[in-house]
């Protein structure tokens, strides 16, 4: 892959995009997991699919729209879905998690109709579902780069607010943190990162890249900063090894990336078990 990397632009695009989402997906994933919002990533990725379908349909039916990148429409839907989830969460105060299945199934329902109308069950769609090493073009690579810089900047700027909101919302509110505003900003970032990650990992597996590395990090980390560092390290490892094996095995990268993440997770669980047992033996 190394020589081919310098030879083929599409490989560079995929690799660079992969490296970028390997940072931001687990970074936001840490906050998603500790706030027990893991399923939000799933809901948002499904509504992104609706956006892709809408874009494919428009491309087909409206003349003059030819080289639209469906990713942008995906982002619009994802962000819209994020805002809807927030509204629904407020509406169902006592059943906040209800917002997730509503948006998830609503998104898929509409998505299926749009895809069928666009006669779109083809390879194109397949690459959006499970990722592709060849689908990333230069422009979307730059888009992902911009999103990455933005997300990292916002997380650094609002680190203490995000931390206090995740740990204790009441405390955050007494500290004068504007929880609603920051939460909205956060969920919009999640929506953008999901749409950005989709081309490499695929819609069905994007939430895995946000949660599995964090699940592994939680087994080992003591502090919050360590959790973030380890999550990014695990996420990045999964993306790089995943992309490499995807290219060589000619299978969609979504599958290989997630399987590497699963292997890392199993390894951390076993590692922790062994270490705890050693600790018990050492103590007794």
């Amino acid at each position: 892959m190394i020589e081919s990397f310098f030879q083929y632009e599409f490989l560079q695009n995929a690799a660079i995009t992969g490296i970028l989402i390997g940072i931001v997906a687990p970074l936001l994933g840490v906050f998603i997991v500790v706030r027990r919002l893991s399923l939000i990533a799933d809901a948002l990725s499904h509504i992104t699919l609706t956006g892709i379908a809408a874009s494919l349909l428009l491309e087909k039916k409206v003349t003059g729209i030819n080289d639209w990148n469906p990713v942008y429409m995906g982002m619009v839907f994802s962000v819209g879905g994020a805002i809807l989830i927030e509204r629904l969460r407020k509406l169902y105060k006592h059943y906040e998690e209800l917002a997730i299945p509503i948006i998830l199934s609503g998104g898929i329902g509409l998505g299926v109709i749009l895809i069928s109308l666009a006669d779109g069950f083809n390879t194109d769609l397949f690459s959006y579902l499970f990722g592709s090493v060849t689908a990333v073009d230069r422009t979307s690579m730059w888009t992902v780069l911009i999103i990455t810089i933005m997300v990292i900047a916002i997380v650094i700027l609002f680190y203490k607010e995000l931390f206090v909101l995740s740990f204790d919302e009441e405390q955050a509110s007494i500290s004068g943190v504007n929880g609603r505003w920051i939460h909205l900003l956060f969920i919009v970032m999640v929506a953008l990162v999901i749409a950005a990650s989709m081309q490499v990992v695929g819609i069905l597996l994007v939430s895995a890249l946000m949660t599995l590395p964090v699940a592994s990090a939680l087994r080992l980390a003591r502090s919050f900063k360590q959790t973030i560092g380890l999550s990014i390290a695990f996420g990045e490892t999964s993306v790089l090894i995943g992309l490499f094996s995807s290219y060589h095995l000619s299978v969609p990268p979504g599958g290989t990336i997630v399987m590497v993440a699963v292997i890392i997770l199993v390894m951390t669980i076993l590692f922790k078990k062994v270490r705890t047992q050693q600790w018990i033996k050492g103590e007794v």
Binding site: V164, E170, I174, V177, L218, R222, S223
Partner: protein, 260 residues
Amino acid sequence: MSNHPIVKMEQVSFKYEKEWVVKDVNLVIRQGQFLGLVGPNGSGKSTLIKLMLGLAKPDRGSITLYDRPIKSFSNWQEIGFVSQKANSFNSGFPATVLEVVKAGLVSRIGTFKFFNKTHKDKALKALRTVEMEDYAHSNIGELSGGQQQRVFIARALVSDPSLLILDEPTVGVDAKHVTEFYDLLGRLNKEQGITLLMVTHDIGTITEHATHVLCMNKTVHFHGNTEEYKEFNDEDLNRLYGHSVQQLTHNHDHDEVNPS
């Protein structure tokens, strides 16, 4: 500044789904006091605290904090709060004691600014006050209930508040540590001059430590200093607490019992 009123509530009422939970409460907390807020279950104690912290808005009446109407009050670092929820936080949360305590500085630091060495030192100092400095780098979830409680007090103390509000802080803490806990509160009140407001079920113990007592059951039934309160006989308590009287008088006789 001593004796200066820092919290003032006038005719404050709050209703939850048509039912009045707090009704016509008048209350003044002065600098340097250690006020014990007691009352039976569902008497509106926690709601009163929430109103005071701006977490709930009164349906009637006015609240003044440090001479400012609560709406325009922004000096929140003056008030430290240890919530009842401190007992039930997500104990799997991946954070060290130091990280948790530093989070108490968020209001003091302000937006777009970062944690630095000074903040770390402040957090360590607050941990020293509650004798938890050795645990600074431990994971918060690995500590015992009593230790976690101390960490949450350190988090409330780290911004150098002049008023510390504690909502049932001894629930889930064993009897031996409850004594140590009250000693700590006594030191904060006498040595550092921090005004304390503590919500509790445990009338017996609080009257041994607090300078003032406020009894409420939706409305205020008694508010005065502890000496006056002790002259209240059981008949008065009976009248005050209605159905909950047995449990409460029981506690009055046996200080170590801690209902939860």
